[in-house]
Amino acid sequence: MIVITLCIMSSQCKKDFLTTSSPGNIDGDFVTSTTTETFKALSWCYSNYRANCAMGTYSWNDPISSDAEMYPENNSSNNLNGRLKPELLAVDVVSGGFNSFYSTLARASRIAAIIAAKPAYQADVKAGKATDWTQLYGEAIAMRAFCYFNLVKHFGDVPFGYENTYVESYKLTSRYDIYDNLIASLKSVEPLMYKIGEGGITAERISKTFVDALIGETAFYAGGYQTLRTDVTGLYGTVTFTLKGAVDSKYNCEYARRTDYLTYYKVAEQYLQNAYNVNNGTALLVTSDARTNANNPFQMFFQNMENFVVSPESLFELGNIQSTSTSSEYNYAFSRPSNGGSANSAPCKAFAALRIIPTVYYGEYDNADKRRDASVAVTGSNGDGNEVMNNFVPGSKTSGGISTNKWDDNRMKTINVSAQRNSGVNWPVLRMADVMLMLAWVKAEAGGEDQAAMDLVNLIRQRAFGNANHNISGLTGQPLKDAILQERKLELLGEGTRRWDLILSGTMSTRGIAVQNEMKTMVADLTAQGYHQFANGNVISNYIYTKAVSNSPTLTFDCTDVTNPVLFPGWRGQYDYSTLAAVASVVKGTTHNMAIQGLFTYIDPASAAATTLVSNGYKKTNWAIDIVNNAAVYYDNIFGGLTSADQVPRYYWPLPAGTIANLTEKNGYGLPNL
């Protein structure tokens, strides 16, 4: 027995008895055994970016805080940053997003390192050919750069390069050093990546096309105005700056850009040009519309998203899927609103966090611009199959003002009516129009390429108007730059770019105060005379006249006939929910459409015209009177923290406590530290 015992004991005690593993725990070699397997490891980064980085940090904030866009609720903590009141934020308010950026880029770095060690990859690099391996390596490096780019954008100077290492003390890295590093790393992988359309790469993955744009954008940001810290000695090394306004001595910051910014604009120009028409692959600006019921190629970009089709105009969009918990903020937070319940409605609730400042809608679009109605919604959905007016009472859903119209549950190819936040619409990151207008901007800034800049703008304008009659010409210097900025404002409204355009152009405070004043002038007129007329002739009134009518089809498209109260403005109406069995019982009545009178012209409620409308079944409906009654809320939601045009804008998020704790420097700009 002892012999048996000893035998078994010795076999039990053999050397590797204590080395255990699970067939479910696998190493880096296993997950990169083939290129298909490697993408399974890398794809986590894309998902984590969508679910926790964008969602955790700026998805809400970027599109709700400019001189064109605002947040709809009164006194909410959701837009404290947007209102430029960062001192009210809690230190960990975006800790999840901040940490997720680093976990995403750390994972991308880890996978890049594993790929770099593979002989197959090394052979491809040696041969100088773009293959699946060099594409995957480039994707990983670009994902890291993309995360750092967004970190700097939203947090300013951050610790750089500490990923995947245990650190006990660390410091901030100058954003300018980070930009240089990112540009260099992207340039090193760009040559051996696939363009969109090559090697099965679509805009749902990072391509050479996107990397070119990202290099351009990074350089563009490096050369733009930013709010900088003045309380960390030596942080920016030898970089020198040109200031806008004075130094903020209370919060120790200044609004400035580097004096050698043109060097960066040159890099930006080169790579944005690459993205536009050198390495664009199959990506292009869509200028035609094959639909029979509409001719609006601008709108087609968004319709493609609702159709689950990757638009040829996309350089990068994050994949999503319907009916699951995968952060479907599009058609919920950034959409035409709906009063529907959280589930089982026609359609379900759309909170609509993103509202268009009325002076932009009324005063800044040319009436012939087909983008206005496709971009801004004056009506929403009532959740019972009926169109309903949006109203200006602070709140959410159809309260809170006019909203973006670029995304709308009513326009989905397959509508998910079972629960909110389940649309499955992809997350747009970058589209060709944005690239072209950035390129125009850097060409205008760099000087000597004014015509090329105007040509780019005009390509956008021709698409917007459907003809060349509205092209710009003969502009140069500041007027040209202003025109480009304005084109970006109207083209990209609600897409999260305007806030950064203001910052980078050094005009956040001046334009912020300007829009506040425009609102005050409008409110003063509304108070005094019941309406306000804009320079383009459009009138906003305290009251409008509305009536529920039936129309077929219930969903509407382009409309230039301003006398048609049902179809004008265009891109409204409702999906016919009575055709969907799951919610047919929820649909109320048959008059699903809204006829609107007096939206752009003044109808005096005491006039005969008003009386006639009422006798025809129209209802006198609160419109701008609700802005008048809640003017203080509007002033607060539109840069409430901005009180003078030469103020240094403080628009950063705090680094979370977990990182601040052992950081050599603390949070600046008046952000909390504990």
């Binding site: 039990q12 990923e163 319907q322 089982n344 602070p394 909390p672």
Partner: protein
């Protein structure tokens, strides 16, 4: 409730009184040798064993205590009975004898299990606390650990709260780890079990707790937190016996949270809604017929004044019944012994939709193969079925604790327009607190989480006495476990409701998980007992042990079942989910956990009064990297039985005096497998299955979210122990005093990493903690005669925990994040060198601002010079108070009614620098005492336990003192907020804003709590309360039916008893119960103990039990 308690006691007493009777035994029988066996009181003993010494002849006594046996008149009879001192009786020619057996006096000759062997307590050199199964059985509780509370010195037991399968925290002498488990190693008959909750108390023979290294070093790597050894009852030689124990228990919640009643609720929430704006106020007024929207309610708010409350707390949490049955059959002869036990417990939870059920069968067989070889087989099968709704506290507390926030007015009593429920901000945000269809009651009922687990534990043993003194023993344990979780989230819980009709659009979602686990343990020991000389003895133990365990699972989750499906249909046909639903499948195989160990122990004694023990163990664990696998744990102890010194032996009053000292080290390897290598694993979360072209793809994630650390090694605890055991006055009084100092170094600690590393946590060996303490336990006989026996025992424990050293990069700050982003400061707990674990940080609460703190002009309250302002981020957005041209100057935060905090550093402002330690959650001392009284056949036991000097972080209270937005606006509050500062009040039936100092002063003359319309909740000493308590834990009254009454029934023994558990608690604590231990896992980043946290807790039960013990 108290009255009911006393009545109940009285009833039990009187029913027993009628059966008081004392009868004498009589009669005689003939035979070769005849006799009768009685106890000291003259009661006959049934089934005592009588053997003729030196032969195989034997018999047992009958129901009258009598026996006859064939024996030579010169023979010697050996009379034995469990629990009594055996007697040898020389017949010396007698043919009839009377034998009176004396009860074994426990203490000194009590056998104590010390790890791979047993010892008599008199020979112990280490620190071991013990409690008998009999004592454990006095508390009729589901989890044995609860029955141990207050009965073992140096062992502090805190139950989470009143849920049916509540977690029980057991701490032996504090606990050295900070982030890792401080749970002791629990061994059931030598085999590791995770929890005590699977072990029926009726089957327990004894529980021994090893406390110092000299005792626990034999368990090496697993011994750092102490070792609890459970020994189950085994078969005894003799005629077969059957025992049946059973009880029925009625549980009733001891206390509910005191929430606002209808009138107060409406008054408060109306004002609160007004502060949040018309969008909240208007639908609220419409709903209840108030203010501008009276509807048909002409009486305004007064119509609700005397309305009875609709108490959601009582709907979701109320009385329940528990039953427990245990039957044991045992028997055997000198060759074969068998013990078969079966147990069934059905513990209905007080919360609706909750229960814990347990079925347990165990078989112990022992067979003598040869004179020197025994084999035995222990088989234990356990089946657990637990239904419990909620995981842990979240930023809302639990659904249960949330229930007080539901409107206290029944729908039928609402006097306004019910359509308002479906409009505006009520429809958007108020569903969870205003809609019946989303009430906590409805949601709990719509959620059915079941976990079913079965385990089979088999241990085969062989004991071989090779030569005199040399014994080989081997245990081979094979275990298997099967688990299932079936969680059904029904259509209400998941909100699959057609809003027009209320019908289900989908039936619900199902998650089905099947898992299995396996374990193997094989130990081999050789013991050698040798008398070196007449005065020197040595006992050697050498051993080897190997353990190996692992498991797998397969999980399928499907959503949106067709509305005609029931829960059962869904689990039976899980692929029939709707086309818009999803099906996710996951499987995993765990990393096997292996330990290979060699150990030895030497016990040396000189003159039976000088004793020394040396223990050594080497453990290799698969948890660590190859470089750091092996840990070595030595220990030594000395003991001196001073009372055996000739000088002291003369003292007749001194029975025993022993002095002990011990020193040694033990380890801890309690971290997840593979913490040292960064591996990948298949991902299972649909959120991360990156869709290409709107189709999900598979992905790999890191196997662990913590950063790997290849340098991880054992955590080591050095223990130093000194003890004195004494017994005096013929054991009338005995006791133990122990002093210890434990130091834990190289702490295996989950530490926070800055997010910039890509990780937020890692495991490291960092820092050092210590626990110093004194334990005193006393036990004595107060009075004893033939009728009465009154004994008492108690223990008191002082433990001082200290963080000796933290790594320099550990900030020590950590937070519960209890109100998510609305918590201030973010980190409300801290670790500080030189202080214990369990410190809460925040502001010092100083009441609230009053109008006297301001100058008032043109409607604006401006702070007077010298009065510090509040920190904006500590209080967040405050509703109902403007700034700039209204109410207060731009930039000023303070306003009358807002909470005021102490300017600790005197810099004229309240900010993060004024945040300091506001509470210490550690008790100064804990303990328990018991009183046992028996009079003839009646026994009465009272068991107390206490904790003194600890504080509680009462978030349930703090959580009602701020104003979360949206859904929070309509929540009911605790009644303490009836006296909250008001800036809105009812004037002429309308809710109006009070502005002038006169108005505010008049409305707030009796205010005692601050205004609560602030969105962020500052942690302050308002939440810190004294948590000291003294609890009469259990009172048990039993009656043993006289044996002669039972003869005809052929029953040996019947005892019936009644007991009350959680009888009364003396405390100043305002929460539901001062014994509270909310799980800390509210935020994934919290890894350090949030000691003393009260958040989302279930009220504890007071239980009334009636039970019976039967022996055949």
């Amino acid at each position: 409730m108290k009255k009911f308690t006393y009545l109940f006691l009285l009833l039990i007493l009187s029913s027993f009184a009628s059966t008081f009777a004392q009868q004498k035994t009589s009669g005689a029988q003939s035979g070769n040798i005849s006799g009768i066996v009685t106890d000291e009181k003259g009661e006959t003993i049934i089934r005592a064993t009588i053997k003729v010494k030196g032969s195989q002849t034997g018999t047992v006594t009958d129901v009258n205590g009598k026996f006859t046996i064939k024996a030579s008149p010169n023979a010697t009879l050996l009379v034995t009975y469990v629990g009594y001192i055996s007697q040898e009786i020389a017949l010396n020619g007698r043919t009839a004898i009377t034998v009176q057996l004396a009860e074994e006096t426990k203490t000194l000759d009590e056998v104590v299990v010390v790890g791979y062997q047993t010892m008599k307590r008199r020979d112990l050199t280490g620190s071991v606390a013990s409690v008998s199964g009999k004592t454990i059985a006095t508390a009729p509780v589901a989890n044995v650990a609860q029955a141990m509370q207050g009965k073992l010195s140096g062992v502090n037991i805190v139950t989470q709260d009143g849920r049916p399968d509540a977690a029980v925290s057991i701490r032996v002498r504090g606990g050295g780890s900070i982030s890792q488990s401080n749970d002791p190693l629990i061994l059931l008959d030598g085999v590791t079990v995770g929890s005590l909750s699977d072990i029926p108390s009726d089957q327990i023979e004894s529980i021994d707790v090893l406390k110092d290294a000299s005792s626990t070093a034999i368990y090496g790597a697993r011994g750092a937190n102490g070792v609890i050894l459970i020994t189950t009852k085994a078969a005894k030689e003799g005629k077969a016996s059957v025992s049946y124990n059973s009880y029925v228990k009625f549980n009733t919640p001891e206390k509910y949270l005191n929430d606002m009643k209808p009138y107060d609720y409406l008054k408060y929430v109306w004002a609160n809604a007004a502060a949040y704006g018309a969008a909240y106020q208007t639908p609220f007024e419409q709903l209840y017929g108030l203010g501008a929207y009276p509807g048909t309610n002409t009486g305004g708010l007064d119509s609700y004044r005397n309305m009875s409350a609709d108490d959601m707390q009582k709907k979701v949490y109320n009385n329940s019944v528990t039953q427990n049955h245990n039957i044991s059959i045992s028997g055997g002869n000198d060759k074969t012994k068998i013990m078969l036990s079966a147990n069934y417990m059905d513990d209905e939870g007080m919360k609706i939709q909750s229960f814990a059920k347990r079925t347990n069968v165990s078989l112990k067989v022992n067979q003598k193969l040869f004179d020197n070889v025994d084999v035995s087989l222990d088989t234990r099968y356990t089946d657990d079925l637990v239904k419990d709704n909620e995981g842990l506290a979240s930023s809302n507390g639990s659904l249960l604790s949330y229930s007080y926030r539901f409107r206290p007015i029944a729908t039928s009593n609402i006097l306004g327009d019910l359509n308002a429920l479906k409009t505006g901000n009520i429809s958007s945000f108020g569903q969870a607190v205003l809609w019946d269809s989303y009430s906590p009651y409805a949601r709990i009922n719509s959620y059915d989480p079941n976990s079913i687990s079965q385990s089979l534990l088999n241990t085969a043993s062989l004991n071989w006495k090779i030569i005199k003194g040399l014994t080989y023993h081997t245990d081979l344990t094979l275990s298997r476990g099967w688990g299932q979780t079936k969680t059904w989230a029904g259509y209400v819980y998941q909100n699959y409701v057609n809003p027009a009709t209320g019908a289900a659009t989908f039936a619900g979602d199902a998650t089905y998980r099947k898992s299995d686990s396996w374990g193997m343990r094989w130990s081999n020991t050789l013991t050698y007992e040798l008398a070196i000389s007449r005065i020197q003895k040595i006992k050697l133990l050498l051993g080897q042990e190997v353990t190996n365990s692992g498991g797998t699972y397969l999980q399928v989750a499907a959503t949106k079942f067709p509305s005609n499906f029931t829960e059962d249909n869904a689990f039976a046909m899980i692929n029939q989910y709707s086309s818009t639903g999803t099906l996710t499948v996951a499987s995993a195989t765990s990393v096997p956990n292996r330990i290979n160990s060699y150990f030895g122990r030497a016990d040396y004694s000189l003159l039976d009064r000088y004793m020394a023990t040396i223990t050594f163990r080497g453990d290799g664990s698969s948890i660590f990297s190859p470089l750091h696998r092996w840990g070595y744990f030595p220990a030594g102890a000395l003991a001196w039985r001073a009372s055996d010194e000739p000088l002291l032996k003369k003292l007749t009053w001194l029975d025993n005096l022993k002095v002990r000292v011990a020193y040694g080290s033990v380890g801890n390897n309690n971290i997840p497998a593979n913490s040292w290598s960064q591996m990948f694993a298949a991902g299972t979360n649909i959120t991360y299955m990156y869709p290409l072209n709107h189709t999900s793809t598979a992905y790999y994630d890191l196997a662990s979210s913590a950063m790997a650390n290849p340098d991880l090694k054992w955590e080591t605890t050095i223990t130093r122990n000194g003890g004195i055991d004494f017994s005096i006055l013929k054991s009338r009084l005995s006791g133990t005093v122990e002093v210890y100092w434990n130091t834990t170094k190289d702490l295996l600690m989950q530490t926070t990493l800055p997010g910039i590393t890509g990780f937020t946590s890692t495991y490291k060996n960092i820092g050092q903690t210590s626990n110093k303490g004194i334990e005193v336990s006393l036990s004595g006989t107060i009075f004893r005669n033939s009728d009465w026996n009154i004994t008492a025992n108690g223990n008191i424990n002082f433990n001082k925990n200290n963080v000796d050293k933290l790594a320099p990069n550990i900030s020590g700050l950590y937070g519960t994040n209890w109100a998510s982003a609305s918590t201030y400061p973010t980190y409300d707990y801290t670790l500080i060198e030189g202080q214990p674990v369990g410190l809460v940080r925040g502001f010092v609460y100083d009441g609230f601002y009053t109008t006297n703190d301001f100058t008032y002009a043109n409607g604006i309250y401006t702070l007077k010079t010298g009065v510090p302002d509040l920190l904006t981020s500590a209080i967040g957005v405050v509703h109902g108070i403007g700034s700039g041209t209204a109410d207060r100057p731009t930039g000023q935060v303070a306003y009358p009614g807002l909470p005021k905090f102490r300017d600790v550093n005197g810099d004229g402002k309240i900010d993060d620098k004024d945040v300091g330690i506001i509470g210490n959650m550690n008790p100064k001392h804990t303990g328990g005492f018991n009183l046992n009284i028996s009079y003839r056949n009646i026994d009465l036991g009272a068991y107390f336990n206490w904790s003194y000097g600890n504080q509680i972080y009462n978030l349930t209270k703090l959580g009602t003192t701020f104003g979360p937005k949206e859904g929070g606006v309509y929540e009911n509050k605790l009644a303490i907020m009836n006296n909250a500062y008001k800036i809105y009040d009812i004037v002429n039936g309308q809710m109006v804003r009070l502005t002038t100092p006169d108005q505010l002063n008049a409305a707030n003359a009796n205010a005692s709590m601050p205004l609560a319309t602030n969105e962020t909740c500052p942690t302050s000493s308002l939440a810190i309360e004294d948590g000291s308590y003294l609890r009469l834990n259990t009172v048990t009254l039993g009656y043993t039916v006289p044996k002669n009454l039972l003869k005809k029934l052929k029953i040996d023994n019947i005892r019936i008893y009644a007991s009350i558990y959680n009888v009364l608690t003396v405390t100043g604590y305002s929460g539901v119960d001062p014994e509270v231990n909310t799980n800390s896992a509210m935020s994934s980043s919290v890894t350090y103990p949030t000691t003393g946290l009260d958040w989302g807790t279930y009220p504890r039960a007071r239980s009334y039990t009636i039970g019976i013990n039967l022996n055949f």
